[in-house]
């Protein structure tokens, strides 16, 4: 077995240029030049030091870089909580349509009827899946969806004169964005511990619920991949206390078409179109974090909402929402991403989406049961429970035994040309290996992954140093994160300054 990631000694692009070279000739007006009368204090004196390179070399530079990057089309990318599924190529092609790319958000409505219809359709679809009748695509990502959801919750309470509800409760298994959004939104966060089944501890929940409870945020299945089966009870507890229920839909890939959170009493939910509905992650973004909500939260939705005027057979942007929370994006959200999600749904239909979820769940459980067999890995929390789209193994025994932890395992896996699971998350599992294969892997792929997992852990057991020194066949060896934080070299400008001081390139510490 051989695997080598492509490796080039690629310089920073700033080192490549030379004055006078051109990479692109942009469109130019035929209006005659004139003197530029920008006041001198606001006139550019030094041109920005951008590279000067011809087109072919720009392409080469980024081609090299691209090959030094693992992606979902390289192989399995089982990052738990991230739903790295295949990004259908037709979606990318459709998103290049000039009648999507070149429309301005402030164009007259009669000139954007097509995209408004598409947005409207998608709103309806997401509502159908969520079991919640209202929808907005404005949040640019999941966290923005959470933020908006919390806005809605607050607006609701305030609108009822209920200003004291400042607590948001969430299990400790929740995704980091949940507490972060909560606090950023001005709420008080209460994290409750999970029970031995990895689920919300009802007693703990009851203990913290009060007249200050604004709402409850939950991911279901949660970040352990476990379905919160007491969801109805939770729902009742919160509602009885006057709180509202937020459903973090990032893990929706487990349950599409099988569970509709609105029917379990949830008031607001965000979808991550960039997870469940196949839009690409782009090395970190963009995403699209559509939010669905119930009737009672609808008066507070952000402006504008796309609606259909039946009388005039015309779609329009409704800004007339008197109690709106305002805006959480400059325009209407990541529309070109939403379109990809829409295309995905159209290609699969209800049956296809349901089958997708079922396959994702089958794959996760298959991997889990096989990996569980490895000595040194354990399945924390009730191991009898089936998982949903992902599972979390704990490498703590291995760590205790030979000092090789989740991060070492990750590095050994990437040495072999397979991406690692999410590691060290959720925080409630210490040496967490959080695995979400998605429906884009077949049995052979999973078997191969399991095999590599076993082989590498066997190697580590023979020689723990092998694990610590991994990865091997990647473009670079194990990077030193601590050095980065200590030295904070964050731009070419800072490098140039270091260079002036004779501190660039960096010195390797003796013991490195």
């Amino acid at each position: 077995m051989t695997y080598k990631q492509a490796t080039y000694d690629e310089p920073l692009i700033f080192e490549l240029g030379k004055p006078g070279r051109r990479g692109h000739l942009p469109p130019k007006t035929d209006v005659p030049p004139r003197e530029i009368t920008i006041p001198s204090n606001m006139k550019r004196k030094e041109p920005p030091q951008l590279p000067e390179i011809h087109e072919g070399e720009v392409v080469r530079h980024y081609l090299h870089l691209s090959q030094m990057n693992y992606c979902v089309d390289t192989g399995i990318y089982p990052l738990g909580s991230c739903t790295m599924k295949y990004n259908p190529k037709i979606n990318e092609a459709l998103a290049r349509n000039e009648k999507l790319c070149y429309i301005h958000p402030y164009q007259p409505e009669e000139t954007v009827q097509g995209i408004l219809e598409l947005i409207y359709n998608l709103q309806k679809i997401l509502s159908e899946l969520a079991g919640l009748p209202y929808c907005t695509l404005q949040p640019a990502a999941g966290a923005a969806g959470e933020y908006l959801g919390l806005n809605l919750i607050r607006a609701y309470h305030h609108d009822r004169g209920d200003y004291d509800r400042i607590d948001i409760i969430t299990p400790d298994s929740s995704h980091g964005t949940n507490p972060a959004s909560t606090v950023m939104n001005g709420f008080n966060i209460i994290e409750i511990e999970s029970n031995k089944d990895g689920q919300v501890d009802l007693e703990a929940l009851k203990a913290v619920v009060s007249e200050k409870t604004a709402g409850f945020m939950i991911t279901n299945p949660n970040t352990l991949g476990i379905f919160e089966s007491q969801i109805e009870e939770i729902s009742k507890i919160i509602h009885d206390a006057g709180g509202l229920l937020y459903y973090d839909g990032a893990n929706f890939n487990a349950i599409v078409g099988m569970i509709r959170p609105g029917e379990m009493g949830f008031d607001v939910l965000h979808f991550n179109l960039h997870k469940t509905f196949s839009t690409p992650h782009g090395g970190g973004g963009p995403g699209s974090g559509a939010v669905c909500c119930s009737e009672r939260l609808s008066p507070y939705l952000p402006v504008p909402i796309v609606e259909f005027d039946k009388a005039n057979n015309r779609y329009f942007l409704n800004y007339d929402i008197p109690k709106t929370v305002g805006k959480i994006h400059g325009y209407y959200g990541n529309i070109a991403i939403a379109l990809r999600g829409y295309a995905y749904i159209c290609a699969l239909g209800a049956d296809g989406l349901i089958e997708t979820s079922r396959q994702a769940v089958l794959n996760a459980n298959y991997v889990m049961r096989k990996l569980e067999e490895i000595d040194g890995l354990v399945l924390k929390y009730n191991r009898e429970l089936p998982r949903k789209h992902e599972c979390v193994l704990d490498a703590t025994p291995l760590k205790h035994e030979i000092g090789v932890g989740a991060m070492d395992i990750a590095k050994m896996l990437i040495s072999r040309g397979y991406h690692a699971p999410t590691v060290l998350f959720p925080l409630i599992v210490h040496e967490a290996l959080m695995i979400e294969p998605t429906e884009n892997e077949n049995k052979e792929s999973l078997d191969r992954y399991i095999q590599v997992f076993k082989e590498e852990i066997a190697k580590a057991k023979e020689n723990p140093q092998y694990a610590h020194d991994a990865p091997y066949n990647t473009a670079v060896g194990r990077v030193d994160d601590a050095w980065a934080t200590r030295n904070l070299i964050l731009s070419w400008k800072m490098i140039k300054e270091l260079e002036k001081k004779g501190q660039w390139p960096p010195q390797w510490p003796e013991d490195h």
């Binding site: 000067e52 950023m184 290609a347 731009s491 390139p505």
Partner: protein, 461 residues
């Protein structure tokens, strides 16, 4: 669901059977057995479905065909977005699946492509803005403004007032308002001078009192006016340790001064105007967020940051996400921001664009826009149409049209018939509309002349 087979699903029925057998299960249903029956959805979903990729394509293309693009109708719309041209080489790089189908680079050793490119993006942004450090994107300019306001409050712990000028784009104001609501930050508007359209500097200085943590202005501002009289305001801010946040039209930076050179501590904007991507009906965009380097402040930045570090091989440095302990996945409720998924691909796309454009290209596009706008302004003046503000501008100005409210739709139609998106209507008096006009570098003399002709016709009707 028997014998369901689809290109987006890897396993065949056969695989399913084999796997279930190995798990000792009879059906996938058993993996859902823990879900109470009471909450199972038993209805039939009403969702669209097409039998082939071709039909999906046809359906969506048919929808989109109802739009009229700025390639068909001359666009004078701006307001923070620019009708850019995306070079084919840039799009080819964007289509590299290695870039677009990767996740956040959690395993840096196998993700140098993303990291290296993002570092270059950060660096180019710093060069453009004369800043030292930049994050690798916020959602858009508007949310960057919200985050900037919050950050000034984190730095200046002893206050809760944030000033911003009235000449800030309305949509950004809206987002700002929303973003600061949780932090109980009070936002206070600095009026603009009715003659010049610039920030009222006396008023600004007056407002910079106790508890003010930051001040924000846009340059050129929303009216297109260049804020060239802010030296004193900035001076006072510096004295009072008020953080100066500048929002800039990034496309102006080939010919306009960089905010870092006139005193901004934090600079924000949108990379869309420098080619992060096309208009896309307003998204995805790429919020720019950059600042002067200060180790402590940098630790207060929102968003992801790529830094340089060492590898085991002497001499071989590499890239990695750094300062992650500010982020939500580690710090949870103590994080500097809730942002997780950002606009990384758009940031990378910006790097591709700027690498192709170079300083000369950036200058030329800036000049084209400047020439266009100034020519248009003069031609409008020739037919007796003035600008609202009598100040220097870059590529945008507010033209004094005073279209009555009840004529607005008619005017829009009139211009549309002439294949013109007339600009962004803006009401100063609440009764009539003036129009904010932006001239991209895609417009030619003929387009501008047609605009003037159309206005003349309208007025003669």
């Amino acid at each position: 669901m028997s014998n369901f087979s689809h290109p987006y699903i890897a396993n065949s029925e056969q695989d399913k059977k084999e796997m279930l057998a190995e798990l000792g299960l009879n059906s996938i249903d058993e993996l859902y057995s823990d879900i109470p029956d009471s909450i199972r959805f038993k209805g039939k979903l009403e969702l669209p479905h097409f039998q082939s990729e071709f039909e999906v394509k046809e359906h969506i293309e048919k929808l989109l065909s109802k739009n009229v693009s700025t390639r068909e109708c001359r666009s004078f719309l701006g307001g923070g977005l620019l009708d850019v041209y995306i070079p084919a080489a840039q799009d080819e790089l964007l289509r590299r699946t290695e870039f677009y189908s990767a996740y956040t680079p959690y395993q840096p050793e196998t993700s140098q492509g993303t990291l290296h490119t993002l570092f270059e993006y950060q660096s180019m942004i710093c060069e453009l803005l004369a800043m030292d450090t930049a994050n690798c994107s916020m959602y858009d300019w508007a949310t960057a403004l919200g985050e900037a306001a919050l950050m000034t409050a984190r730095i200046n712990k002893k206050g809760n007032k944030f000033l911003y000028t009235a000449a800030t784009a309305p949509n950004r104001k809206e987002v700002l308002k929303n973003y600061v609501s949780g932090a109980k930050l009070e936002i206070i508007e600095i009026p603009y001078d009715k003659e010049t359209g610039k920030m009222d500097k006396e008023k600004a200085i007056e407002l910079m009192g106790e508890g003010v943590v930051g001040i924000y202005f846009e340059n050129p501002n929303y009216f297109g006016v260049i804020e060239d009289e802010i030296e004193e305001v900035i001076k006072v801010a510096k004295e009072k340790k008020i953080v100066v946040v500048a929002g800039v039209d990034t496309s102006s930076l080939g010919i306009m001064e960089a905010p870092g050179n006139y005193g901004a501590d934090i600079a924000i904007g949108d990379a869309q105007s420098i080619g992060a991507g096309p208009l896309n009906y307003g998204g995805p965009l790429a919020g720019v967020f950059a600042m002067k380097f200060d180790k402590k402040w940098t630790r207060q930045m929102p968003g992801r940051i790529v830094g340089i570090t060492l590898t085991p091989k002497k001499g071989k440095w590499a890239f990695t996400n750094t300062l992650q302990t500010r982020e939500q996945h580690i710090k949870r409720f103590r994080a500097t921001s809730n942002i997780c998924t950002n606009e990384a691909l758009m940031a990378m796309s910006t790097a591709f664009h700027l690498a192709l454009l170079g300083p000369q290209g950036l200058k030329e596009t800036g000049e084209s826009m400047y020439y266009n706008a100034h020519y248009l302004k003069e031609e409008l003046e020739k037919i007796g149409v003035k600008t609202v503000f009598n100040s220097e501008f870059f590529n945008t100005f507010l033209v004094d049209l005073k279209i009555p409210k009840d004529k607005k739709e008619e005017f829009t139609k009139f211009m549309l018939e002439r294949k013109i998106f007339a600009g962004i209507p803006f009401s100063l008096d609440g009764e009539t509309y003036d129009y904010l006009i932006t001239t991209s570098y895609l417009l030619k003399k003929k387009d501008l002349d047609d605009y003037v002709k159309a206005i003349e016709e309208w007025r003669n009707e």
